[in-house]
C-alpha cells in the first residue's frame, strides 16, 4: 500500500469542510490553511458555494483535477457513497476521520468501505481516526485546533497509534521536545491500512530515523512477525503495548500456557527482534529522544558521570547501577593523574566526577577532554545544573560541541524551571538529549546500549 501520496500530497480534498467552526471538517480545513500547506486545497460540501476564501465543490467528482488525498469527515452512513465517488475521481488515498463504524458494532459498514478502497486501489487510513501529520509537507488532518494542541517541529521521529487520544497527547508532548516529528499516523479502526502497512511505510521513509508505536492489538500477526524480524535492523522502533491486564486468562492446561499470555507473548516478540520496549508514555519520549539524537552507537556499558552537584551526581550513579546492563566506569590511572594535574582543587577524582558548584564551561571542557581519552569510559552522562553560578549558555554550547565530536554516546541531565528549560531546549534542538531526572537518563542509555548490541548482532 502506497501511503506516500497521503503523507506528501500535492492536492487535498476535504470532504465535509464547513463554514461552521464547530464542525470537524471546518477545523481540518482551517488547520491546513494555518499550517501553510502549499499544495492545492479543495473543500467539498454539498450545500456551500464557498468555504472561507476557497471555492467549494458539491462532489469530489466536480473538482476535475488529480487528488492525492481525500480527508472524509462526514457522518458514517454517507461515507461509502463518497468513497465510491473518490474511486471514480481516481483519488489516490483516503483518510476517513469519521467514527460510527466497527467501534460501535457497525462492522458491515466498515467492511464495505474497505472493499471500496481495495476495488479502487485507494490507500485507506481509518475510519475513526485523527489521520496524519507531516510537518515537512505541512499536512495536518487532525481535527484538533492548533491553539489547543501543540504541533511539533520538523524532525526524525515518526509516531503511529491506533488511539487518537494517545496519539494526540504524545504529539502535544513531542511539540515541547527538541527532537521534532517526521510523520504522525493515527489509524483508528485499521479497516484497510494496519500496523503492517504503516510500519512498512515508516521503515522505508527516508526522513524517519526512529519509529514510535503505541499498540493495542495487531491485526495481521503473522505478517507483523515477518516484518518484525527485519524491522529494527533498519531503524530503532520504540513500542508501548497496552493491555497488560486486559487479558481474560483462557483455561490453561499447562503452566506454560498459564504464564505466557497475550501481553507476555508480544513482549517476547519485541525483545527478540530488537524493539525498544516502553512501559509508559513518558518512556516513549525518553527513548525516542536518545535514539533520534544518538549518532554514536554504544560500544560498551561503562558510564562516566560528570556533575556540578554532588547529590545529583550520586543519584545519577545510583540510577546507572540500577539498570540491568550499565555500570559506572572506573577511571584509568592516567585519567586520575591528568585530573589531579588539571583540577587540583577537586576533592575526589572518582566517578561520579564532582566538579563542584562553581564549575563553568571551561572546567567541564577540561574534564571531558581528559575522560574522552579514557579507554574505560564508553558513555557520558553530564549533569548540568543551571541554578549554579558557573552554568550558563556557554556551558550549553560547550556540551553541544562535545556531543557532536566525542564519538561516544553522551546525554545530559538538567533539572529545573524556566531558566533550565530554555537551555534544555537549546541543547536538544542542537542534538544533545537532555533528561529531567537521573532515572530517565539512565534508562535511556540502557535502552540505547541494548539497541546498539542488537544491531551489531543482527547486522
Amino acid at each position: 500500500m502506497n501511503l506516500e501520496p497521503m503523507l506528501a500530497p500535492r492536492s487535498v480534498a476535504v470532504i465535509g469542510a464547513s463554514n461552521n467552526p464547530d464542525k470537524v471538517g471546518h477545523v481540518i480545513l482551517q488547520n491546513y490553511i494555518d499550517a501553510g500547506y502549499e499544495g492545492k486545497l479543495f473543500p467539498v460540501n454539498k450545500n456551500a458555494e464557498r468555504i472561507g476564501n476557497l471555492e467549494s465543490f458539491k462532489s469530489v467528482l466536480d473538482i476535475g483535477e488529480d487528488i492525492d488525498l481525500a480527508v472524509i469527515a462526514i457522518p458514517a452512513p454517507l461515507v461509502p457513497q463518497v468513497m465510491e465517488e473518490c474511486g471514480k475521481a481516481k483519488v489516490k488515498t483516503v483518510i476517513v476521520v469519521s467514527g460510527g463504524f466497527a467501534e460501535i458494532g457497525e462492522t458491515a459498514l466498515e467492511e464495505k468501505i474497505a472493499r471500496i478502497a481495495i476495488k479502487h486501489k485507494m490507500a485507506l487510513v481509518g475510519p475513526n481516526c485523527l489521520g496524519v501529520m507531516n510537518p515537512r509537507s505541512r499536512v495536518d488532518t487532525l481535527f484538533l485546533p492548533t491553539y489547543k494542541l501543540g504541533r511539533p517541529t520538523v524532525g526524525g521521529v515518526s509516531f503511529m497509534a491506533q488511539s487518537g487520544a494517545v496519539g494526540s497527547t504524545i504529539l502535544d508532548l513531542i511539540s515541547s521536545e527538541g527532537f521534532g516529528l517526521s510523520k504522525f499516523i493515527s489509524y483508528g479502526n485499521a479497516a484497510y491500512a494496519d500496523e503492517v502497512d504503516i510500519l512498512e511505510y515508516l521503515i522505508a521513509d527516508k526522513d524517519t530515523k526512529v519509529i514510535v508505536m503505541y499498540l493495542e492489538g495487531i491485526k495481521r500477526p503473522k505478517e507483523f512477525l515477518e516484518l518484525a524480524r527485519r524491522a529494527a535492523k533498519a531503524k530503532p522502533i520504540v513500542v508501548l503495548k497496552a493491555g497488560k491486564t486486559a487479558e481474560g486468562a483462557a483455561a490453561a492446561h499447562s503452566h506454560t500456557a498459564a504464564l505466557s499470555g497475550n501481553y507476555e507473548t508480544h513482549m517476547a516478540l519485541f525483545r527478540q527482534f530488537g524493539f525498544t520496549i516502553a512501559d509508559d508514555l513518558s518512556d516513549l519520549l525518553y527513548y525516542a529522544k536518545i535514539l533520534a539524537s544518538e549518532s554514536a552507537a554504544a560500544t560498551g556499558n561503562r558510564v562516566a558521570v560528570i556533575t556540578n552537584g554532588g547529590g545529583a551526581g550520586v543519584l545519577a550513579a545510583d540510577a546507572v547501577a540500577s539498570t540491568s546492563n550499565l555500570k559506572l566506569a572506573e577511571f584509568s590511572a592516567e585519567t586520575v593523574k591528568a585530573l589531579k594535574k588539571t583540577m587540583p582543587i577537586l576533592s575526589s577524582m572518582r566517578n561520579p566526577l564532582d566538579l563542584a558548584g562553581d564549575a563553568n564551561y571551561a572546567i567541564y571542557g577540561n574534564a571531558i577532554d581528559i575522560l574522552q581519552k579514557d579507554k574505560n569510559v564508553d558513555m557520558f552522562i553530564i549533569v548540568a545544573l543551571f541554578q549554579t553560578p558557573g552554568a550558563d549558555d556557554r556551558l550549553a554550547n560547550e556540551l553541544v560541541r562535545y556531543k557532536n565530536s566525542i564519538g561516544k554516546p553522551m546525554i545530559a541531565i538538567s533539572i529545573g524551571a524556566a531558566y533550565t528549560q530554555s537551555h534544555k531546549t537549546m541543547m536538544e534542538s542542537a542534538g544533545l538529549p537532555v533528561y529531567d531526572s537521573p532515572s530517565s537518563a539512565a534508562k535511556a542509555l540502557s535502552e540505547l546500549l541494548k539497541y546498539s548490541e542488537y544491531k551489531r548482532r543482527r547486522r
Binding site: P221, H253, H255, S260, T265
Partner: protein, 199 residues
C-alpha cells in the same frame, strides 16, 4: 511413554520411569533404589498441591503404602495413571515449556520451575525458532539468573535444552502445550522429571 520417546528423539533425556498398574509392579520397577510415584490425570494440574506425589520411596512397605494411598486419592480423577520414576537427585527446579500461540505460532518458555512457577512468575518467552543468542538472552532475562546459571556448564545445558525444545516444537505442529516441569538442574547434568504434552 510416547512423550518420553518424542523428547528422546530431540536429545532430551527424561528420567527413567514406568507406568505401574499394581504395587507389585512398582516394587519391581524400584528394584531396591528409591523411587517417586505420581498420579497423572488431566483433571489435576497441581499434583504436589493435590497430594498426588510421593517422594523418596526406598522401602518396599513404603512403596506399597504409597501405591494404595495414591490409588485411593485418584479415584475421583479418572481416567488416571500412576507413574513410578527413579528419585532424582536434588537440584534447582526449572520449567521448560512451549505453546502454540494463535497469533504468532510456536513459542518456547523457560523459568524457575517446580512449585515456584506461579509464585515468582520468573520466566522468559521467545517465538520459535530461536537462536543460541536468544536462548542465552532468555536466561539473562530471568531474575533468578545468578542462581540458575551458576557456571558456564549449566548455562550451556539450559541453552541446549531450549534449542532442542524449540526444534521439537517447530517440527511437531500438533503440540498445543508442552510442560517439562520440573527439569532438575545439577552440577553434573539434569533430569526431566515431569512431562505434559497437550495436542
Amino acid at each position: 511413554m510416547a512423550a518420553k520417546k518424542l523428547l528422546q528423539k530431540y536429545g532430551i533425556r527424561s528420567i527413567d520411569s514406568s507406568y505401574v498398574k499394581s504395587a507389585d509392579a512398582a516394587v519391581a520397577f524400584a528394584d531396591g533404589d528409591p523411587i517417586v510415584m505420581k498420579v497423572l490425570s488431566d483433571k489435576a494440574l497441581h499434583k504436589s498441591k493435590a497430594g498426588l506425589v510421593r517422594l523418596n520411596l526406598g522401602e518396599e512397605k513404603d512403596i506399597r503404602k504409597a501405591f494404595a494411598d495414591l490409588s485411593n486419592r485418584a479415584k475421583r480423577l479418572r481416567p488416571y495413571k500412576i507413574i513410578a520414576q527413579r528419585m532424582a537427585a536434588p537440584g534447582i527446579e526449572m520449567i521448560i515449556g512451549g505453546r502454540t500461540d494463535q497469533q504468532f505460532g510456536q513459542i518456547v518458555l523457560i523459568g524457575l520451575g517446580g512449585i515456584y512457577v506461579e509464585v515468582f512468575r520468573d520466566f522468559a518467552l521467545r517465538i520459535c525458532p530461536i537462536t543460541r543468542y536468544d536462548a542465552g538472552d532468555m536466561l539473562d532475562q530471568l531474575r533468578s539468573k545468578n542462581v540458575v546459571t551458576y557456571n558456564g556448564k549449566a548455562t550451556k545445558t539450559l541453552e541446549d535444552l531450549l534449542l532442542k525444545t524449540s526444534k521439537l516444537l517447530a517440527e511437531n505442529n500438533g503440540i498445543k502445550e508442552l510442560d517439562l516441569n520440573p527439569v532438575i538442574m545439577r552440577a553434573n547434568g539434569y533430569d526431566v522429571v515431569d512431562i505434559r504434552i497437550l495436542k
